[in-house]
């Protein structure tokens, strides 16, 4: 797949460049001629959508940095100055703030697609791990970006997250002091977060480059999970997937625009429009929605260190997933039992997200106050998150390893083209009847 190139330089300049720096060849091979399975569905368009998200965040972020002042006395007002006085500043800042949420929506769909279709399995382990690295970098970037407006949620969010490191034995306190550059979250913290918030997206872009490289070595997985067998199974990336990805990107941008123009603060938190005040904590402190599942896991454990370990463990387990899943079948289309567990896993993640946004003692079923076991109120968000946390880890550590050895998958198709052609709704008239004509 890789190694062979169909690029033929047409003009003298192209030939001249091609013998010196074959960038046009690289672009041609990876974005135009790249053989792509022809059965990719819309879940596969999120890679392209994520590239657009990263681009939007980079461009808007660089522009915002031209106007933002990283100082505790000026940060809040400088963000509002962007909103009020800078030409189109409101547009750029709302694009950046909502863009973060859009980025995470897309990355979660992208990850669940990978989980469902087994895109992490051999030979794509490195591709998957690079994706996990990107996700980790995204979380760090998003967290530090949220601190920059220096509102109440920014400030106290920074306090809570940096204090997580205080849970580490022996070195915890030294590390938090080092992170803060002082004895509390203050101006030195804001300055370094601004610096790192500027740096990390470029690291993300770098790892994205590796991620795409690692994608182009084995080529795309596909909804059947069956390897590409012949040219019959593929189409060139351009124009087939440029237009399909393009369409999906524009549909995604419509969702994005709905938030930016008509509900720009819906995904944020009202308290963050109150300037940061170290003396008063907001009544109900929650992270941004994309961190809620991890926040729920953190709070599900009554022990500080245990909570932190479990929370980081929830991300760490993703890194070793390729070796936890013992099944040779990639796509869950052909693993009916695993499919069921997968959807419960998806539900568990949503439940964790929901619990993360609620007060731990809130009742799951309102009005039912007698469901007790000893001192514990089982009808509480904290117990619901415990159940969901348990399932989260069980899915990776028990279900996937065991199921691969015990389940009986459905028969796999011979090739990508086989189910495509036998699917009457998708086959064009005549094509299904005489596939051999399509030489």
């Amino acid at each position: 797949m890789s190694g062979h190139s169909n690029y033929e330089p047409k003009t003298g300049i192209e030939r001249w460049l091609d013998t010196r720096l074959p960038v046009v060849r690289l672009a041609y091979d990876s974005m135009i001629d790249f053989p792509t399975p022809k059965n990719l569905n819309y879940w596969w368009t999120f890679g392209g959508i994520l590239a657009v998200c990263l681009g939007i965040q980079l461009v808007t972020g660089i522009v915002l940095a031209m106007h933002y002042v990283p100082h505790v006395d000026h940060a809040f007002a400088s963000v509002e100055r962007i909103m009020r006085d800078v030409n189109y500043g409101w547009l750029i800042r709302y694009m950046h703030a909502n863009g973060a949420s859009m980025f995470f929506i897309a990355v979660y769909i992208h990850m669940f697609r990978g989980l469902y279709y087994g895109s992490y399995k051999a030979p794509r382990e490195v591709l998957w791990i690079l994706g996990c690295v990107i996700y980790l970098l995204m979380m760090a970037t998003a967290f530090m970006g949220y601190v920059l407006p220096w509102g109440q949620m920014s400030f106290h969010g920074a306090v809570v997250i940096t204090n997580l490191f205080g849970a580490l034995p022996v070195v915890g306190e030294a590390i938090t002091t080092w992170l803060w550059g002082g004895f509390a979250v203050d101006n030195p913290t804001l300055n370094r977060f601004f610096s790192l918030h500027f740096l990390l997206p470029f690291m993300i872009a770098g790892v994205v480059g590796l991620h795409i490289w690692a994608l182009h070595v084995p080529g795309n997985n596909n909804p059947t999970g069956v390897n590409v067998k012949s040219k019959e199974d593929t189409v060139p990336f351009h124009p087939y997937y440029t237009v399909k990805d393009g369409f999906a990107i524009v549909v995604f941008l419509i969702l994005f625009a709905t938030f930016v123009f008509y509900n720009p603060n819906a995904l944020g938190h009202a308290d963050n429009y109150i300037p940061g005040n170290p003396l008063v904590t907001p009544a109900h402190i929650v992270p941004e929605w994309y961190f809620l599942p991890f926040y729920a896991i953190l709070r599900a454990v009554p022990d500080k260190l245990g909570g932190v370990i479990l929370m980081f463990g929830a991300i760490a387990v993703l890194f070793v997933l390729p070796w936890l899943d013992t099944s040779k079948v990639r796509s869950m289309r052909y693993r009916p039992t695993a499919k069921l567990y997968f959807f419960i896993f998806l539900l568990a993640c949503l439940v964790l997200g929901y619990c993360g946004g609620q007060l731990p003692d809130n009742h799951v079923i309102p009005g039912l106050s007698t469901f007790k076991l000893g001192d514990a109120d089982l009808n509480s968000m904290v117990w619901l998150s415990r159940v969901a946390t348990l399932y989260y880890f069980a899915y990776f550590l028990v279900v996937l390893p065991v199921l691969g050895l015990t389940e009986t998958p459905l028969p796999l198709p011979e090739s990508i083209s086989e189910p495509v052609l036998s699917h009457p709704a998708n086959a064009p008239a005549g094509a299904a009847a005489s596939p051999e004509k399509r030489g």
């Binding site: 929506i105 124009p239 524009v250 123009f261 308290d271 094509a431």
Partner: protein, 282 residues
């Protein structure tokens, strides 16, 4: 499969977004009140903004700063005193005359002395107190919050401001209200410590240091609108909503053009996509 997935994703989004919408504490949800600026086509009502500014100026500004606001903002596009004749708000004579009524502290460039000079359109709204300590000292220890972005700093901001201003109530029997405190069911907070009644019947809301600020007839509206408490509260809520989001009209207008463009663009791409994939079995 796709449709089911989209439905699932939408459901997930709804669940995840839900916590953001719920307010902390046991306050009553804000009263429902219709504002002209709601919805995708909503615009600020200039007469209402003018009345609201008068309420802010004559009542609120005695204690509440708006330190992100400049006088020029009053004359900018969409603002209370915008005049199409003066595209540059700094030239707007009405804005200039408002600014001139204020004495602004400055430094004399020759002598270095602290002086007061008449305001210009480039000046900020002056703060009622020189610093936070002074503000607290004059208000029984409570700090009157800055109102510049108040409508964004509370859930359902404009409705909340209106409800709070019109929602003062006599405390129910069994609720002990401290000196310099007032009971308001729309205020965030928890009054259970001051409640001697049954535990499951704690009244909603909280205590607020601000005495009911508005009363019928307190502000005389220049346009002849009847000056009821309700009218004042609604108008000042609208004014603060505008001050919090002065580019809202521009945003919605830009958004409408962007949405129409995106829908046409999506349609074209879909047609192109169908054409290209027409003869591929997939």
């Amino acid at each position: 499969m796709l449709r089911k997935g989209i439905a699932l994703a939408a459901l997930g989004l709804a669940i995840l977004a839900a916590p953001a919408a719920q307010a902390a504490g046991g306050a009553l949800p804000p009263k429902h009140v219709e504002f002209s600026f709601e919805g995708p086509f909503g615009k600020f009502d200039q007469a209402e903004l003018q009345r609201g500014y008068k309420v802010y100026r004559e009542v609120c500004s005695a204690c509440h700063s708006m330190n992100l606001m400049y006088f020029r903002n009053l004359g900018q596009k969409g603002g209370p005193f915008y005049d199409a004749k003066y595209k540059n708000p700094n030239d707007n004579p009405y804005v200039k005359s408002i600014a001139k009524d204020y004495q602004i502290k400055d430094i004399d460039s020759e002598t270095g002395d602290v002086i007061e000079r008449p305001g210009t359109s480039a000046d900020k709204f002056p703060s009622p107190f020189p610093n936070e300590a002074a503000a607290r000292a004059s208000n029984g220890g409570a700090l009157p919050p800055d109102l510049s972005v108040m409508a964004k700093a509370r859930h359902h901001g404009p409705q909340y401001i209106y409800s709070l201003l019109t929602g003062y109530k006599n405390p129910p029997a069994g609720l002990k209200v401290g000196v310099g405190q007032h009971y308001n069911p729309y205020m965030n907070g928890d009054v259970s410590a001051a409640w001697s009644g049954p535990h499951d019947k704690v009244p909603p809301g909280g205590f607020i240091a601000m005495a009911p600020p508005l009363a019928a007839g307190q502000v005389t509206f220049d346009d002849g609108t009847k000056s009821t408490l309700d009218q004042q509260a609604k108008d000042v809520a609208a004014f603060i909503a505008w001050a919090s989001e002065p580019k809202m009209e521009e945003r919605k207008a830009f958004g409408m053009a962007a949405m129409i463009y995106l829908f046409i663009f999506a349609g074209l791409l879909y047609a192109s996509y169908r054409k290209i994939w027409k003869n591929v079995a997939h």
